[in-house]
């Protein structure tokens, strides 16, 4: 073939499918597990060993287990070899809610449902002020949650500051869902609707002022409703079980990122005071076991604080766990910061982005994404570490579980509650690690 120029014309060969490499399952097993004598022996011994362990565990936990009984003695009489799940079942409510009054437990359920619902609108890409959702969840929801869980009347048990923030949180929640609905319907969001009005009133800052205005207006009905409702007060001492564990863990996990970022940036800072202070906090906290940090928070913190400021045990524990988690997170984040090539800083500087913009827009987003696996590992260990708070007397799930064996009906029932907690933690931690894998794939820094 030749064209006008006299050169041969290049035509690519037609593409074809790759040759199929279809191995049957049996052949695959054979080629991987039984390809040599050594491998065959290894495979067989692993299978046999696995069979013994698993069948023994299943016998105890399922086949010989007792599900209905009213005391441990009864369990023993029915099946001395099996697990006595009846005890765990009768204490199940306590494991989840601690000593929270039974008729008030709907508040905990509602609180957790709202916390999750607060994050749903994140799934919508088009929603207005999407960046604020996480921020509001960290900054506003805790006040609302604290009100819901503590109960009490506005102005009496709930301080003015706390009350106002609770109303603002409710207002924001309504705004969020209204905007979500409008975004789904492809309508302009609430603030845009009032924008013409706002820009007539104020010539500068009309957009943020409009948002503020709509938010305040939505908070008013919330305030009216909330001030009429009287929730029965529940003292913090009665909080417990998985509920308390999750509160501490969620708090520590969400706070560990901002604390970690601040400490990591502080450690890299060229200002000597900031640098040494961050270094001191990081190294001190990391050199000490969590239990000691917890004890120090409970015993030392009240000494440092002004005497008229009285902190409850939960706030002290939250403080300790946050600092602890933050110091570890700081090292994770520092690792991420170091992995960012210098060219990124230079490009940002050449564009004129100052230190904070460079960090917030360019460096941290990349560093955090690079570190997702490590950060998730830290999150998981924070969740597991929170069980240590039982040592200083918070009735978290661990202490509740140990209490079962002190109950006169279930005296000496140790193994089953622990097994139950292990399963629960496995489910929680495993879902976190699966979620992290998913996140890692979705947020890869260079989407090549």
């Amino acid at each position: 073939m030749s064209n006008k120029t006299g050169l041969k014309q290049f035509v690519a060969k037609p593409a074809r499918l790759p040759t199929q490499n279809d191995q049957t399952i049996i052949r695959r097993i054979h080629s991987r597990c039984f390809n040599t004598i050594g491998n065959s022996i290894l495979t067989i011994s692993v299978v046999v060993l696995g069979w013994y362990v698993i069948s023994a565990a299943l016998d105890w936990a399922v086949f010989n287990a007792v599900w209905h009984a009213s005391t441990r003695r009864e369990c023993m009489n029915i099946s001395p070899e099996g697990a006595c799940w009846a005890g765990v079942i009768s204490w199940f409510n306590g494991l989840i809610y601690g000593r929270y009054p039974t008729d008030q437990q709907w508040r905990i359920n509602l609180g957790f449902i709202l916390a999750v619902m607060w994050l749903f609108p994140l799934s919508c890409q088009k929603i207005a002020y999407r960046n604020f959702i996480l921020l509001s969840w960290i900054g506003l929801y805790p006040f609302f949650g604290a009100y819901l869980f503590l109960g009490g009347t506005f102005g009496v048990d709930i301080g003015v500051f706390h009350g106002v923030l609770t109303c603002l949180a409710s207002g924001f929640f309504i705004l969020l869902y209204a905007n979500w609905l409008l975004a789904i319907l492809n309508k302009p969001h609430l603030c845009e609707i009032f924008q013409p009005l706002a820009s007539r009133l104020f010539n500068r800052w009309s957009q943020p002022l409009c948002l503020l205005f709509v938010w305040l207006v939505l908070s008013l009905p919330a305030a009216a409703v909330l001030s009429q409702v009287q929730l029965q007060p529940v003292a913090i001492e009665r909080w417990g079980g998985l509920f308390l564990t999750l509160i501490i863990a969620t708090f520590a996990i969400t706070m560990s990122i901002p604390i970690g970022v601040i400490l990591a940036l502080g450690r890299q800072s060229t200002l000597p005071v900031v640098h040494w202070l961050s270094l001191l906090v990081i190294e001190l906290v990391r050199a000490v076991p969590l239990i000691t940090v917890l004890f120090m928070a409970v015993t030392l913190l009240p000494i440092f604080l002004p005497s008229d400021m009285e902190l409850n045990k939960l706030s002290q524990v939250l403080f300790a766990v946050c600092i602890f988690a933050g110091a570890y997170m700081a090292e994770n984040i520092r690792g991420g910061l170091q992995a960012i090539p210098r060219g990124q800083y230079e490009a940002a500087q050449a564009l004129g982005l100052g230190y904070w913009f460079t960090m917030l827009l360019i460096v941290l987003p990349q560093a955090l994404r690079l570190m997702i696996p490590n950060i998730m590992t830290s999150f998981i260990s924070i969740l597991k570490d929170t069980t240590l708070v039982s040592i200083i007397g918070l009735f978290d799930i661990m202490l509740m579980a140990r209490n079962i064996s002190n109950d006169k009906d279930w005296i000496g029932l140790h193994t089953e509650p622990i097994a139950m907690i292990s399963i629960l933690f496995f489910v929680l931690c495993y879902s976190m690690s699966q979620y992290s894998l998913n996140l890692e794939k979705r947020l890869k820094v260079d989407r090549s």
Partner: protein, 256 residues
Amino acid sequence: MTLQNRSATTPEPHGRAIEISGLNKWYGAHHVLRDISLDIAESEIMVVCGPSGSGKSTLIRCLNHLEEYQEGEVSVFGHTLQRNTQSDRYIHQTIGMVFQSFNLFPHLSVLQNCTLGLTWLRKKSDSEARDIAMSLLERVGIANLADRFPGQISGGQQQRVAISRSLAMEPKIMLFDEPTSALDPEMVKEVLDVMVNLAKTGMTMVCVTHEMQFARQVADRVVFMEDGEIVEVGPPEQVLLNPQWDRTKEFLDHIL
């Protein structure tokens, strides 16, 4: 797009864009820039060439505060630079830079790379920033890639995004540090075409490059550097075709 001599289309240079006098820089005891004095006029296209390690990158990085220097003075439109690398708003607003390794922000889409500075520094609204960025991407011929990520486009395309990203901030001076030397030959042309078009708009440009074709066609002056010193400066015909120094001739024989 055809390459053509720009002197016919651009106004005569006037005023001084950059003045460098007695610039000296050391890395430890290593003297990398030695008594550099050079003036660059407004709308001038200056090409800097020289062997590896001669201090070309260091020189142009000193012009926009990416590198500190120990002696001498650099001023941009009469504004004198501090010697340290503290960020200087005026300089970053006036000077844009394009790097050899593109340095795009990999976690942002092509469009977001270009709108970033506009929304956060120039406080433009989203739609305004988008329009500006799209028209720039159009100008460099990659508007269709606006929603891709840097990892999903070729090197030549990435470098064109980097140029648009700088241009979005409306700089008066553009610095190019070997913008084409990390590219395959076929992509070099697409980037050079963009630079030639930019030169025609009257932008002041300082380009470190070994593309002598480009230098001959658009440069007003060519600087040849060796061991941290300026050996020769002059119009491209003089420096490239009729060098006065043996070292320049030797270098040119190598790369031409």
